[in-house]
């Protein structure tokens, strides 16, 4: 058995629809190491959920291979299912008339949890996701966040070494989302490998070790989270407001700053600069740029992963075709 | 739910059901009470198919608003809720009656009772009156229970009560409590009028009683709509979750 928790090689999936074929995954290659949390990013239709479903044995690929802890997802179903927890989330996927505990009990048994120790495990899981107090209430009375936490408890009940999380925080309020992130963060300490699909980059920022971007059914980038931030080509945006003549960047300054936007109205100007590399020296360089100007105010906004993703997505769209190594700062 | 189903599927599932329902009750009549009971059961079977299989689809109107969460839009419109509700029920009633005519023709041919079916043709207006009464009470029952799990139960109970108490299979006068319940429900008086007409007996009184019960069902429906609309405004339960 190899050291990787998830290995995907040349994975493809084409859906037949009326009027032709839809290619959801073309040639996906990625690995998730044991104990690693990998964030899977991509716009709608990029193939994230398709990939998750194939790994969860819910969907058959039309090409390539995928293995979970060395077991093929198309032939070693029993082993893959025993080793994998899946959280697809959403409001469906639960028996609304049954209680949270009854739901968890049933799905725990389906996941292979034996009779011995089941009750203790149910209690622990409910406690872990903060549903112990409402465990005997019908799920139809649960809020969206409570249902999502129950999904998480179901996905983790057999303590799988590999967990697939598809949009775990979607639709949750900030408090619920943060609580769920903490639940996932605990998995890291247990050595669980996680493939985390999310539109919310805060999830990726807080949880993931590595980011994989899917675009048009292919891996467009596969980098460490720290490296991912550099894909935008800047680390902060400085917004300066002043009067008089706006500053002009010379060649040396242009290597450190990029003018994002400059607007002038009624004698006032607003300049947005992208700082390529924020450091102590940046203040000195910024002073040099703004030296002759009358400054009314300065605002510094650190880079967010949303900005990085927007930049990457725009670049991918501009490129027309995608692939590893094509996304550049 | 039928409202969400393709019309072709709905028709192809309903038509055989109606035919077989008429055949079942007619043949069962012969089996349990002798060949003389077959004609009695055939006429009753027709009415049961008309109401419990075809007309019952009118409840898809309130059910549809529950499942698609559209009641609030109707409530916020200019047109009174009851008008919208009943207007939308008309197509179900019309299609149901059309299907019933086809089912009756097929079943009569299968059972060799075409002569009886032809003798029933002049009584179609009374059949239509029974369908209206049943539809109105069905809408009233579905609307009254729409916010509860009993929404599935109410129309089905009405169906079984009709089967038991309308005099469709069991002749009136056998069981007192069944007669008592039947006399305040749609169908029983209309069916009695049809049977009297076929036998050449006076039928008008029973037909008028059927009309009275039809109007009472309409009043109950209006009451149920008013209560649910008021409840929705007071508690904000437009989705009836």
């Amino acid at each position: 058995m190899s050291g990787a928790a998830i290995e995907v090689e040349g994975l493809g999936r084409t859906f037949k629809v009326r009027g032709g074929d839809v290619v959801a995954l073309k040639d996906v290659n990625l690995t998730v190491g044991q104990g690693e949390i990998v964030g899977l990013l991509g716009s709608n239709g990029a193939g994230k959920t398709t990939l998750t479903k194939i790994l969860a044995t819910l969907l058959l690929p039309t090409g390539g291979t995928a293995r979970v802890l060395g077991h093929d997802v198309t032939s070693d179903l029993r082993e893959v299912r025993r080793l994998t927890g899946v959280v697809l989330g959403g409001e469906r996927g639960l028996y609304a008339k049954l209680t949270g505990r009854e739901n968890l009990r049933f799905f725990a048994v389906l996941a292979g949890v034996g009779r011995r120790g089941l009750v203790d495990r149910l209690e622990a899981a409910l406690d872990h996701v903060g549903l112990a107090d409402v465990a005997d209430r019908a799920v139809e009375t649960y809020s969206k966040g409570m249902r999502q936490r129950l999904h998480l408890a179901i996905g983790m009940i057999n303590e799988p070494p590999v967990l697939l999380l598809d949009e775990p925080t979607v639709g949750l309020d900030p408090v619920e989302a943060e609580r769920l992130r903490q639940d996932v963060a605990v998995l890291r300490s247990r050595g669980t490998s996680v493939l985390l699909t999310s539109h919310l980059l805060l999830d990726i920022e807080r949880l993931a070790d590595r980011v994989v971007i899917l675009a048009d059914g292919e891996v467009a980038a596969d980098v460490e989270v720290a490296e991912f931030a550099k894909l935008a080509g800047y680390t902060a945006i400085v917004t300066v407001r002043g009067t008089g003549c706006p500053p002009v960047l010379d060649g040396a300054q242009a290597s450190r700053f990029a003018v994002d936007d400059l607007t002038e109205a009624s004698g006032l100007w607003t300049l947005r600069l992208r700082v390529r590399d924020w450091s102590v020296e940046s203040f000195g360089h910024l002073g040099a740029v703004l030296g002759g100007a009358t400054i009314l105010g300065v605002d510094v906004a650190p880079l967010r992963l949303e900005d990085v993703y927007s930049h990457v997505a725009a670049q991918l769209a501009a490129n027309g075709r995608t692939g590893v190594g094509e996304v550049r700062p | 739910m039928s409202a969400t189903l393709p019309p072709a599927a709905s028709i192809f599932a309903t038509l055989p059901k109606g035919v077989l329902q008429i055949v079942f009750f007619t043949v069962l009549g012969g089996v349990v009470a002798g060949q003389d009971h077959r004609q009695f059961a055939f006429v009753g079977g027709l009415v049961l198919a008309l109401t419990t299989t075809n007309t019952v689809n009118v409840i898809n109107v309130p059910f549809g608003d529950k499942y698609f969460s559209t009641f609030w839009r109707i409530r916020h419109g200019d047109v009174p809720v009851a008008v919208v509700l009943y207007a939308r029920a008309v197509p179900y009633l019309a299609v149901g009656f059309g299907l019933f005519l086809a089912e009756a023709a097929i079943a009569a041919a299968v059972l060799g009772m075409t002569d009886v079916a032809l003798r029933l043709l002049p009584w179609l207006p009374v059949f239509a009156l029974m369908a209206c009464g049943y539809a109105l009470l069905g809408i009233a029952a579905a609307t009254a229970t729409i916010a509860k799990r009993a929404d599935v139960l109410a129309p089905n109970i009405l169906g079984y009560l009709t089967m038991l108490c309308a005099g469709a299979f069991l002749p009136p006068g056998r069981v007192g409590w069944i007669d008592a319940i039947g006399s305040v429900l749609p169908v029983r008086h209309g069916l009695a009028a049809v049977r009297a007409g076929l036998d050449g007996r006076p039928w008008l009184t029973e037909a008028v009683l059927e009309l009275v019960i039809c109007l009472a069902s309409a009043a109950l429906g209006l009451l149920a709509v008013a209560v649910q609309t008021r409840r929705a405004a007071r508690h904000g339960h437009d989705d009836f979750a």
Binding site: V109 | G34, N156, L164
Partner: protein, 265 residues
């Protein structure tokens, strides 16, 4: 990580999953209105109209009661155990049910058993209450064989329900077909309407329904004495239903995994 489980462990695991599925389905049937309608009201209405239309003699009463119960069981099976997979699809739980560690068939049959037990129990209560209310003279000549027949009823209805469930899974209009499938068996099932009343060219149809053979066995067990042949045919048909259900279910799941439609509503 451990190696593959031993055969004994696998059997124990399958039995545990089967029982848990049955128990879960029973719990979700609590207060299910469809159960009350088809298992509670149907036998009462059929029994009252069949008996009060013309009071049967003592030797015919038990036969009518048995036929009514099995007719109601068909109605209940179509909606309850026959609706197991349709409901899973509605709730969005089908994907998880077929992707458990144990075989999806084990889960399906467990759930079908849970629904059937509830249905049979409700039908029994409703029928006994109606028989008492109507003061029907029903004799139970061979109670042991009646109990055996009842056991076969439960197993057969469970398998039949699983088969129907798989067939309904093949269509998006399962609810509609559930309603449409009731009367064909009422007419052609050889239960309330005897086989010899049907046209000659249709008399083979009831032979394919296990409930018709169980009806014959139970009627004999309540009266003159049980016969092994109808019981054996009922068991054989039950096994056949099970095989067809298992194959259909596997085929449906494979198709759904190919098409990606497992979690469609």
């Amino acid at each position: 990580m451990t190696g593959p489980p031993l055969l004994g462990d696998r059997l124990r695991g399958a039995a545990w999953t089967f029982l848990t599925a049955a128990r879960t389905e029973q719990r979700s049937m609590r207060g299910n209105p469809l159960l009350l309608v088809n298992a509670g009201f149907l036998p009462v209405v059929l029994l009252v109209i069949a008996v009060e239309a013309q009071r049967p003699p003592a030797d015919r009463a038990a036969q009518i009661v048995t036929s009514v119960m099995l007719t109601a069981l068909w109605g209940s099976t179509v909606w309850t155990s026959g609706g197991v997979l349709r409901r899973e699809r509605t709730y969005g739980t089908l994907a998880r049910c077929v992707c458990g560690v144990e075989s999806p068939t084990v889960v399906l049959f467990g759930k079908s058993l849970g629904a059937t037990l509830y249905g049979v129990g409700t039908i029994l209560v409703a029928t006994v209450a109606t028989v008492l209310a109507l003061r029907l003279p029903v004799a139970l000549a061979h109670p042991f064989w009646l109990a055996v027949g009842l056991l076969v009823v439960v197993v057969s209805a469970t398998t039949l329900g699983a088969l129907l469930s798989c067939l309904f899974l093949l269509t998006r209009n399962g609810l509609l077909w559930s309603g449409a499938l009731m009367y064909p068996v009422f007419v052609l099932g050889g239960l309330l309407i005897p086989q010899d009343v049907l046209p000659v060219w249709l008399r083979w149809v009831p032979q394919l329904l296990s409930l018709r053979w169980i009806n014959e066995f139970l009627s004999d067990a309540a009266g003159p004495g049980p016969s092994a042949t109808p019981l054996a045919v009922a068991v054989a048909l039950t096994v056949a239903y099970g095989v067809v259900a298992t194959r259909t279910y596997r085929w449906s799941i494979d198709k759904a995994r190919q098409r990606g439609s497992l979690d469609h509503a």
